[in-house]
Amino acid sequence: MAIEVKDVTKRFGDFVALDDVSINVPDGGLTALLGPSGSGKSTLLRVIAGLEEPDEGQVLISGEDSTETRVQDRNVGFVFQHYAAFKHMTVFNNIAFGLKIRGEGNGEIKERVRQLIELVHLKGFENRFPNQLSGGQRQRMALARALAVEPRVLLLDEPFGALDAKVRQELRTWLRRLHDEVHVTTIFVTHDQEEAMEVAEQIIVMNDGRIEQSGGPRDLYEHPASEFVMSFVGPAHRLGTEWVRPHDVEIRHEPNGQTIEALVDRIVHLGFEVRVELTLQDGDHFSVQLTRDQVDELELKEGQIVFVRPRQTKTFASA
């Protein structure tokens, strides 16, 4: 295991940010810490980095107990949501910072920075200052800066959170590819389940300072261990005591004994996928995901009365 967190608790005054948290992150993997804001995911990342001291528990990096190790000696790469670029330094000097601190020779620094600049696609920007870069470029510079010191683990705190949707999407794909090239054990924090599922091999879902579940993206989606995971990882609706995914619902024109009556409020065309918004008899709103062809076949119209039947549901012991 590259990183082991054992029974860590962290309080800020009366607020319990981490409540007896334990996680394992395998060597060379890309792991997402997923959760809503205030769930403790950033705090956990900062505890691993040494930027926060846990009140209880242990942090092991590469098998070594690092709980008492100072930040500067942990050899972790950390990337901040707002880049934390050194504004008075050029791109070159930002990336070279850690190497200079370590007293590397000038020749080696130049060569290493050159390689990193190529890796993060910033060639030609060496002498720019951070304020002359776009957000995405700054974040790639920050990533190169963190990678320069060859960290044992790379920690990314909502790295794409401050970027617009398009750049975000590009950087996700790019991060995935970068990880395949560099293979450094990576943990990134996100509140975006789609981002976590797209980029990570392992997802650790957090809520209220505790770990809800961890596993692969498909595993979490298909076998959620709690109502929280069911509703947070992918869309889900609650029907009485049962939970159902919007694509696991059948719509018919005739009742067949197992169906529930519903009114079609709105049909939203999202390209290939169509979202049918329904109101149930008890006034609950509910939406079903169909393909364009299915909608055409059913000849669905807004204002129609239809009958729905969940194909697959999940129930959880009361949470």
Partner: protein, 295 residues
């Protein structure tokens, strides 16, 4: 633009200009004119007299000790007040402004109460042959007192604004607290420090009240330039007073001018999106991301 709003605009400008001229430009201008009324001889003589030269160098000495001390102290205090949480922080924070609030004369008198012959420490120091009040050390203390808040007050907001992200990034890259301070924190607050130094210098140069109370005004010994001006004036040596006043004015103007330059440079680096967030690129040529091409 309508005639009314044009009138309004020029009217406003006129009022502002008149105010500045009547209250600032005319008095300072008149000093220049008065000084050279009888040619360059008398003022030059006064300012190069032993007393005049002594006053000049004593002023430089007071500023030269007070400002660097207040700069080091100011940066440290600002760091403590912004980065640390502790009991009594609010009290210390308001104490910093004391020199702004208290009249300089009161400051001078307070120093005498502590360091004077009958003061708390003054007595045994004087027995040991070290005189504070009516001597140069007292004047330096007074100068330090009045110019203390400037660096702290200029650096604090800058520290708040830059936050701790850059410092934490430096730490994760292996920098010790000392390295982080010199390589990251100090460069990030440099304009605030510079601005504070300029303001403190201007204040220290011109200080009259507190320094004059503790100086004893002994010609050639405990006279700074502002005190020299007053002494020459009360002794009806107008040429000397004006000449010294001009030297002071030139020093102060030089300081103010450098402040203006600093403000401009600082604003320039802010304008180019130095706040580090989502601000769009405002300088440089826009180059599309390499990955945008891939996508």
């Amino acid at each position: 633009m309508s005639a009314a709003s044009r009138l309004q605009r020029f009217g406003l400008r006129g009022i502002a200009l008149f105010y500045l001229t009547a209250l600032l430009v005319v008095p300072v201008g008149i000093i220049f004119w008065k000084t050279f009324e009888d040619g360059i001889g008398p003022p030059l003589e006064a300012i190069t007299s032993p007393e005049g030269l002594h006053a000049f160098w004593l002023t430089i000495l007071c500023v030269g000790i007070a400002v660097p001390l207040n700069t080091i102290f100011g940066v440290l205090t600002a760091l403590v007040l912004v980065r640390h949480k502790f009991r009594g922080k609010a009290v210390i924070n308001s104490l910093i402004d004391l020199p702004f609030a208290v009249s300089p004369v009161v400051i001078g008198l307070a120093l005498i109460l502590i360091w004077g012959q009958d003061g708390w420490f003054g007595g045994f120091l004087e027995d040991a042959g070290f005189q504070v009040i009516y001597a140069v050390p007292g004047m330096i203390l007074a100068t330090i007192f009045v110019s203390l808040p400037f660096v702290v007050r200029e650096v604090m907001p800058v520290l708040q604004e830059i936050g701790t992200d850059q410092e934490q990034a430096a730490e994760t890259l292996g920098a010790s607290p000392r390295q982080t301070f010199w390589k990251v924190t100090l460069p990030a607050i440099r304009w605030g420090v510079a601005y504070g130094v300029v303001l403190a210098t201007a204040r220290a140069l011109g200080e009259f009240g507190a320094v004059s109370v503790v100086s004893g005004k002994i010609g050639g010994q405990t006279e700074t330039l502002p005190i020299f001006v007053e002494n020459e004036y009360t002794n009806f040596n107008l040429a000397g007073a004006y000449a010294a006043a001009i030297v002071l004015a030139i020093l102060a103007l030089a300081v103010l001018f450098s402040m203006n330059m600093l403000q401009r440079r600082a604003r320039k680096s802010e304008d180019s999106g130095d706040d580090g967030d989502e601000t769009p690129v405002t300088t440089g040529v826009f180059v599309p991301h390499p990955i945008e091409k891939e996508a």
